[in-house]
């Protein structure tokens, strides 16, 4: 790293004012940072720490006048960004500074094909015929490792997976070899293998072009993987900054220490003595295909097999992890076993009865025994219902006396470590982690035989994630729960699962005890997954501070 080079980006004493009535006066208070060519600066912080807004300020894409720059300077390649006109900024954006956004879902125009949008970027800043641009677009799609680039070129954003959408975004950002790349949580929605590829890709760009990268993330694993320099933000204030090695291995601020301590350990739980527990959930020969439609005149897309001949067994008191990349069919599995989606064929035996052969009436009764914790804590609770009604709803539907059900709901709130005062509130008054606890309480209220958890912690901050995982582990051992735990995060799987099942493209490629699979992966894909875990070579130094 060349410390003498002129910085690509220099931010000094930046303050961003929030509108009156916000929870604090400044979204960012006194941010200083320097990004040199060929350097990757990581900005780390939990949600609400102001990291995304700082990216917005550099791109001059703040939601003005609600949030505006109240002081400080931003210098990009010697030019003052804040004094540029909107027209000058348009030339800078996309061409010299480009940005990868957090939400792959909303960052692409749903009305246009992927190819059209890539072409648009190229058309704006590159000379050449349609044919050349097409070739370049396909090349970019290949560079970000999209399988079948021609098909993706003709697809609309909703027809490709979230991971693929993010790759398209990255392809768009990298297409013009910018001087500064701002990456706002670019790999948060991706799986480990993709994430590693993307991180490598970003490194590659930075090495070939000498571009500076400002990388915003909440994941210390990613930081360990990619950062040269680290800035830790907390509620708009920089609590610690320094070279990556120093911050990661010798953190000084207690907040940094707490954050690092919350990163789940990669050591799987020790092997439990095998007790012959009865099997509560058994899937046999499950299969599900989705038919994808292309546009009228654009190229065709193939039918997608989401789950191909899946069989598994889950014993009483056991946690089975379903691990895989996006598009591996793991979420489809969670919907098939709960019959929120109908399988094409196969059977799901729950306590000896085939769930898939039930009539609608029988099915409603059977649902009592298999409950689900959902991924998105924002969307999974009805915003118009009070928490107590949400939790008590299930038992009431199954004939429980409403008063008893409400009392039980209050007990459950306590069990998930929420104050009973929460009962009469509406979901929007809670944080993400609290909502997930409510979701867990709702599942527990039915006293199910099996709980299916679909990525229950992936939307949460790392410190909150640690607490929710701990809660799940506690409840599991106290209530002898059987869990089918769907996750993309191998660190999380290592924490909680007795056995794991690794899925790839709708098929199980390997399954076995977590400790064995982690120690000695047999299948090439599993090996790849394990070696892609971000920061796997970095062992967090402080394990003494208890984050929860």
């Amino acid at each position: 790293m060349n410390t003498q080079a002129t910085p690509v980006l220099a931010v000094s004493d930046l303050r961003l004012a929030l509108p009156k009535g916000a929870d604090r006066a400044f979204a960012l208070d006194g941010l200083n940072l320097i990004v040199r060519p060929g350097e990757i600066v990581c900005m780390v912080g939990e949600s609400g720490s102001g990291k995304s807004l700082s990216a917005g300020a550099i791109m001059r894409l703040l939601p003005e006048p609600h949030v505006h720059v109240a002081g400080g300077t931003i210098t990009f390649e010697g030019e003052d960004i804040l004094s540029k006109s909107e027209k000058e900024m348009r030339d800078v954006r996309g061409n010299r500074i480009s940005m990868i956004f957090q939400e792959p879902m909303t960052a692409l125009n749903p009305q246009k094909t992927v190819g059209w949008q890539l072409d648009e970027v190229l058309k704006l800043h590159m000379a050449g015929s349609r044919k050349i641009r097409h070739a370049r677009a396909i090349e970019m799609l290949e560079r970000v490792h999209i399988p079948d680039p021609e098909s993706a070129y003709n697809a609309y954003p909703h027809q490709i997976s979230g991971g693929q959408r993010q790759r398209v975004m990255i392809a768009m950002a990298l297409a013009l070899s910018p001087r500064l790349l701002i990456a706002d949580e670019p790999t948060t929605a991706l799986d480990v293998t993709t994430q590693l590829q993307i991180l490598k890709l970003i490194r590659e760009l930075q090495q070939t072009d000498g571009a500076g990268v400002l990388f915003i993330t909440h994941d210390f694993g990613v930081v360990a993987e990619i950062a040269d320099h680290v800035i830790v933000l907390r509620q708009g204030e920089v609590v610690e900054q320094g070279p990556a090695d120093q911050v990661l291995n010798r953190p000084e601020h207690p907040y940094t220490k707490a954050l690092i301590a919350s990163v789940p350990d990669l050591t799987p739980p020790t092997l439990k003595p095998v007790i012959a527990a009865p099997i509560v959930l058994k899937g046999t020969g499950l299969r599900k295909t989705f038919a994808a439609r292309g546009g009228l005149l654009s190229g065709k897309r193939k039918e997608v097999v989401a789950v191909k001949d899946l069989s598994f067994e889950l014993s009483q008191g056991e946690t089975l992890g379903v691990v895989g990349e996006s598009g591996s069919g793991k979420t489809t599995v969670s919907r098939l076993v709960t019959r929120l989606l109908d399988a094409d064929c196969g059977s799901v035996e729950l306590g000896g009865t085939d769930l898939l052969a039930c009539t609608p009436r029988e099915l409603r009764a059977m649902r009592k025994d298999i409950q689900m914790v959902f991924q998105d804590p924002m969307a999974s609770l009805n915003p118009r219902k009070r928490v107590v009604d949400i939790i008590a709803q299930g038992p009431i539907v199954h004939g429980e006396d409403p008063d008893k059900a409400h009392d039980r709901a209050r007990e459950l709130l306590e069990m998930v470590e929420l104050s009973p005062a929460a009962a009469n509130r509406f979901p929007h008054e809670f944080s993400g982690g609290q909502r997930q606890r409510i979701g867990i309480a709702r599942a527990l209220a039915m006293e199910p035989k099996v709980i299916v958890a679909d990525e229950p912690v992936s939307a949460l901050d790392v410190s909150v994630q640690a607490q929710v995982l701990k809660l799940l582990a506690d409840l599991r051992s106290r209530m002898n729960l059987s869990l089918l735990f769907v996750t993309h995060d191998l660190r999380v799987a290592a924490q909680l699962c007795d056995r794991i099942m690794v899925m790839q493209k709708g098929e199980v490629v390997e399954s076995g005890f977590t400790a064995e699979v982690f120690a000695n992966p047999q299948h090439a894909y599993t090996q790849n997954l394990l070696s892609s875990i971000p920061g796997r070579d970095w062992t967090p130094p402080v394990r003494t501070t208890d984050a929860a």
Binding site: R335, Q371, N382, Q434, R437
Partner: protein, 291 residues
């Protein structure tokens, strides 16, 4: 330094307080509320203002306003008091507005909810029916219905409801289509909740705010439709209604303009009040939309 997640945020004020605070921010909406209150007050006090039949002869025909203290707004060509007709007319306008709106919203919700929730062929059939209604100009359909059913006030109200359900149906359908795939709906389904409960208890409350806002538009339209019918002489002659007054005042427009103008102003202000009310409701119920 630990980040404890179990602590609750401070309690928010109750929903109606938040609602009122957001509503209050819009001055025009407050004006709408005041006008609406005036119309309601008129409807309620009609019996006090004139205990008798508003259609009886109350004075010399075609008295100008502010001449005869017994008839402050004057009289029409049959000697009926303009003011008492105006007050009783408020009853009819509100009644027609509310009932017709309820009918149209009810049909709209049922059609839209089923089409949006089930999709597939249910959606196809229901939407083709909706489109069939939409292709006929609503006033022409209204005239046809009234011609068939007769000019009784009940039938007029019913007919107005029938011609205005298509827009709410489409709105409800759109809301349902976006809400039915949300995780909270899956969560409820997973609890064993039946389809009808999913539709009416889970999804509908979340789909309601834009519908309620739109209801104010329908109410204004319903009042205008009734007035237009009465203007053409198709209103119910047994009730004093603003449209009837304008329709009859048309004959003496050049000599006694006030016979049409006063009820005309009443209609304008009432429709305006609904429109402003709708805007205020929109601000209060969809607070994120305006930022």
């Amino acid at each position: 330094m630990t980040v404890i997640d179990s602590d609750l945020r401070p309690q928010e004020p109750p929903r109606y307080v938040m609602f009122w605070r957001r509503y209050r921010r819009n001055r025009a909406a407050l004006l709408g509320l005041v006008l609406f209150a005036v119309v309601i007050a008129m409807a309620l006090t009609a019996g006090l203002v004139d205990p008798g039949d508003p259609l009886r002869r109350a004075g010399v025909p075609l008295t100008a306003p502010f001449v005869d203290p017994a008839n402050p707004f004057g009289t029409d060509q049959l000697g009926r008091s303009v003011m008492s007709q105006l007050f009783y007319g408020a009853r009819i306008s509100l009644l027609i507005g509310v009932v017709a709106t309820l009918i149209s919203i009810l049909i709209g919700i049922i059609v839209g909810a089923f089409a949006g929730y089930f999709g597939g062929w249910v959606d196809d059939i229901l939407m083709r029916i909706t489109e069939a209604f939409q292709t006929i100009p609503s006033f022409v359909l209204l005239l046809t219905l009234v011609a068939i059913l007769g000019s009784k006030i009940e039938w007029i109200t019913f007919a107005i409801g029938i011609v205005s359900w298509t827009a709410p149906a489409r709105m409800v359908r759109a809301e349902f289509m976006s809400l039915r795939n949300r995780e909270f709906v899956d969560a409820a389904r997973n609890l064993g909740v039946s389809n009808s409960s999913l539709i009416f208890r889970e999804i509908l409350p979340n789909a309601l705010p834009p519908i309620i806002v739109y209801a104010s538009v329908i109410m204004a339209l319903a009042i205008l439709l009734e007035s237009a019918l009465a203007f053409l002489g198709l209103g119910d002659p047994n009730y004093a209604s603003w449209g009837n007054m304008i329709g009859q005042g048309r004959a003496v427009l050049r000599t006694a303009w006030y016979c049409s103008a006063i009820p005309g102003i009443a209609i304008i202000l009432t429709v305006l009040s609904f429109s402003l009310l709708g805007e205020g409701l929109n601000d209060a119920m969809n607070p994120r939309q305006k930022q």
